[in-house]
């Protein structure tokens, strides 16, 4: 027995990227645009999706893939709005992972009515770290950042904030009750991702929902 060195020179996430590309090809073939929606737990991903669907997305027919570690609470909420929704749980089956990866999304593609939708919103598992690493076949990434999380989050989780085309700041109705400096959050976002589109919204009062829905509609039409 002797040791040999094998050159690998491969990105650790290349296998995921390959599957993500296959997903993207399937979505493209069906004419479906895909947004990967990410945030910390409780920032309001599901609530903002609900409000956008209720507000109406114009001609856009939306479908939702709900990613959670367990349960179908979010999928049940979306189903009440009469849009196609598929629940994807990472436990059991995918080791209870704290994010979605391309392979998990691939496993759900056959359950998605791609011919009946123009836009697929993939709601990732609530987490600001792991989801940023794993492409799932999306056209765009959007993250929700709520004002109860603190202004420093872009600096603490730059990988997530840098990887998104849209950053939607939620729960702005709470601003009068918080020691939260919105200007500082905006400056921190500008530091890590000057190219991002930034919106402010409140899923509770409906403020900013129109712009959020318009962004989703524009993505579907792209």
């Amino acid at each position: 027995m002797h040791r040999v060195r094998v050159t690998v020179a491969e990105g650790v996430l290349d296998a995921n990227e390959t599957i993500a590309r296959a997903n993207r090809e399937d979505f493209d073939r069906a004419g479906v645009r895909v947004v990967n929606l990410m945030s910390a737990p409780g920032a309001g991903k599901t609530a903002l999706l609900e409000r956008a669907i209720e507000a109406g997305l114009g001609e856009t027919r939306i479908g939702v893939l709900e990613g959670d570690v367990q349960g179908s609470l979010d999928a049940d909420r979306i189903a009440h709005l009469h849009v196609p929704v598929v629940q994807l749980n990472t436990e059991p089956g995918f080791g209870g992972e704290c994010h979605l990866d391309a392979n998990m999304v691939r496993s759900a593609i056959d359950d998605l009515p791609l011919e009946e939708i123009d836009l697929l919103a993939i709601e990732n598992v609530g987490n600001l770290v792991c989801p940023a690493e794993f492409r799932v076949g999306e056209d765009a990434r959007a993250m929700i950042c709520s004002v109860t999380e603190g202004e420093d989050k872009p600096l603490k989780y730059p990988l997530m904030f840098r990887s998104c085309e849209l950053i939607c700041i939620n729960k702005v109705d709470l601003l009068p009750h918080l020691d939260f400096d919105l200007e500082r959050l905006l400056a921190n976002i500008e530091t890590v991702n000057p190219d991002a589109t930034v919106l402010t919204a409140s899923a509770r009062t409906g403020e900013g929902i129109e712009a959020w829905a318009r962004w989703l509609g524009a993505l579907a039409a792209a």
């Binding site: 027995m1 002797h2 040791r3 040999v4 060195r5 094998v6 050159t7 690998v8 020179a9 491969e10 990105g11 650790v12 996430l13 290349d14 296998a15 995921n16 080791g95 992972e97 704290c98 994010h99 990866d101 987490n127 770290v129 792991c130 690493e133 794993f134 989780y157 730059p158 990988l159």
Partner: protein, 82 residues
Amino acid sequence: MHELALSRAIVDAALRHAGGRPVEIVHVRLGSFRQAVPGSLAFYFEIVARGTGCEGAALEVETLDGDQLEIAWIEVEDAVRA
């Protein structure tokens, strides 16, 4: 938690390149932008590797400034003399 997911990907890729041979060393290049902690990566790697061809292998992490996240090379036990 991030490191756990990355460790799984590292073990999978190493096994694919090892072609069934026992893996002794996995050498990874890791940029600081990836926000992964080398010690934590090694901790999870050891656990994820258990029961696979990477069991007992050493994870070498070369830290760099940038967004690198790649397996540079692995060393495997080879029964056939070169």
